[in-house]
């Protein structure tokens, strides 16, 4: 309970005594490059393979000759947009960006760089953490859209290069009964996940005590707790938004 209270106080400190708007714009753009652009390769690889594997596994599970093969394309589209792109990418994102944020802030804490900011009269939470959260919330939904597109492309490539479903059937499935709300659902989830990952990882790093060992532990905890938060919020959002 003490940790939850400290986390809430930490979030409230984000908006206390902020620096100039120009400072945040510059820092947020830097973080967008670091968080968004630098995650692109990992997201690309993950998404293409997840889409391809989903196609193969769906085909493997459809044994009844009464179910048309085009259903595979439909299932790949729905699962990729609604679940795989936002959630699996979030777990990958937590592993890469969450651990990096916690390690970065943890190192700054133990080497007194955060104290140096505080002594200068700078709100270190706002200066260091707010740009990371803003950059995550801005770039992660873009990554999710990208991941969804690549996931479906990966599914199509699996259809193209294997015999489990013909590309024509796959494309026909993709075009069948599309409910645009799943895109909104995916984007809402992506914003929540991005906020959870960046804020939890920042919190874990910011309050690191000790030395190099504790920085490593903070990074591990940041990823673990972020993953739990992702799965929990995924369930809550599904329950709230899909009813």
């Amino acid at each position: 309970m003490r940790r939850i209270g400290q986390y809430i106080l930490f979030l409230s400190a984000l908006f206390r005594k902020p620096e100039s708007f120009r400072t945040y714009v510059r820092l947020t753009l830097d973080e967008c490059v670091y968080i968004g652009w630098n995650s692109l390769l990992l997201v690309t690889i993950t998404s293409i393979f997840i889409g391809a594997v989903t196609t193969l596994q769906t085909a493997y599970n459809i044994v009844s000759p009464l179910i048309p093969k085009s259903v595979i394309g439909l299932i790949v589209r729905e699962t990729t947009i609604a679940e795989l792109a936002p959630t699996i990418t979030a777990i990958v994102f937590a592993g890469k960006i969450g651990s990096s944020i916690a390690g970065n802030l943890g190192t700054m804490r133990i080497t007194e760089q955060i104290d140096a900011l505080e002594v200068m009269g700078i709100n270190s939470v706002s200066y260091l953490v707010l740009p990371k959260i803003l950059a995550s919330v801005i770039t992660y939904p873009i990554l999710v859209i990208f991941a969804a597109f690549l996931g479906i492309t990966g599914g199509y490539l699996a259809a193209e290069f294997t015999t489990v479903v013909s590309p024509a059937d796959f494309v026909q499935g993709l075009k069948t009964t599309f409910n645009p709300f799943i895109v909104s659902f995916a984007l809402i989830k992506s914003v929540v996940f991005a906020f959870a990952i960046s804020s939890i990882s920042s919190y874990m790093g910011y309050y690191t005590k000790g030395g190099a060992l504790e920085v490593g532990q903070a990074s591990t905890k940041a990823v673990t707790i972020s993953c739990i938060a992702i799965l929990l919020s995924d369930f809550i959002l599904a329950k709230l938004l899909l009813n």
């Binding site: 080497t111 007194e112 760089q113 104290d115 140096a116 505080e118 002594v119 009269g121």
Partner: protein
């Protein structure tokens, strides 16, 4: 001038500093000395606002740092420069960016004015032409110098140094001590240095506050310290053979 009165601080049940009062004058190198764990760094952290004391007052030029309103505290903080034990330079910024950082954030100076000030400070700490080096590319002594330059770049009135000589060889330590004393004298800064280095004490200790077991046990200067008559301080000062021989000779 900085005046502290009856400062106390505890962590859980353990009292780390108790009822410490002192006056630190401008243009003097003020030293807080004591054994490891005596509470001197905790006192320093209370004075710069990294910790909040449970009782007592801290006045910067008559302005209340503990109970003052937010604007007063912010104004005071922006007059403080601090040299941390490990330098605390920002890893991701080069030497020039580290020193310019307080000017970027806290002032509205033009880029040209900032660079003039940065180069002046770099020259003052004898580090010309190191502008583009990263902190990892310079020695410990140079990192301390960059830390000093960053601490004074915004025309700080108060300079705090936490163990500025830790991890440095004796010769570099003396150079850092002399640099701190020269800067203090030149800019009439109120400088407060936490140390347990006896070379520093004898070299630059114009005002010395000795803390032992959470309490202030003695205050004076580097001339008086060898005749303090305080047993704990004598044990601290004359812990090594060289100082004992020095006492016998004097």
């Amino acid at each position: 001038m900085i005046e502290i009165s009856n400062i106390s601080k505890s962590f859980d049940d353990r009292t780390v500093i108790k009822d410490i009062s002192a006056k630190f004058e401008p243009g003097k190198t003020n030293l807080i000395i004591g054994a490891s764990g005596s509470g001197k760094s905790v006192l320093l952290k209370n004075m710069v606002g990294l910790l909040k004391p449970e009782s007592g007052t801290i006045l910067y030029g008559g302005r209340d740092f503990i109970n003052g309103n937010r604007d007063t505290v912010t104004d005071i903080r922006r007059e403080i420069g601090m040299l941390f034990q490990g330098g605390a330079l920002f890893d991701s910024k080069n030497v020039e960016e580290n020193i310019k950082f307080p000017l970027d954030i806290l002032t509205k100076m033009s880029e040209e004015e900032k660079m003039d000030r940065v180069n002046f400070c770099l020259k003052r700490v004898q580090l010309e032409n190191t502008n583009k080096k990263m902190p990892s590319e310079i020695s410990g002594g140079m990192q301390k110098r960059v830390g000093i330059a960053r601490a004074i770049v915004n025309n700080s009135k108060y300079l705090f140094c936490d163990e500025p000589n830790s991890g440095l060889d004796p010769q570099t330590s003396i150079q850092i001590d002399r640099l701190l004393q020269e800067i203090t004298d030149e800019f009439q800064i109120t400088t407060i240095i936490v140390t347990h280095d006896m070379n520093s004490v004898m070299e630059i200790g114009e005002y010395i506050l000795y803390i032992c077991n959470s309490l202030k046990l003695w205050e004076g200067n580097n001339q008086d310290i060898i005749h303090s008559g305080v047993q704990e301080l004598d044990d601290f000062v004359f812990a090594n053979n060289m100082m004992r021989k020095f006492r016998e000779m004097s």
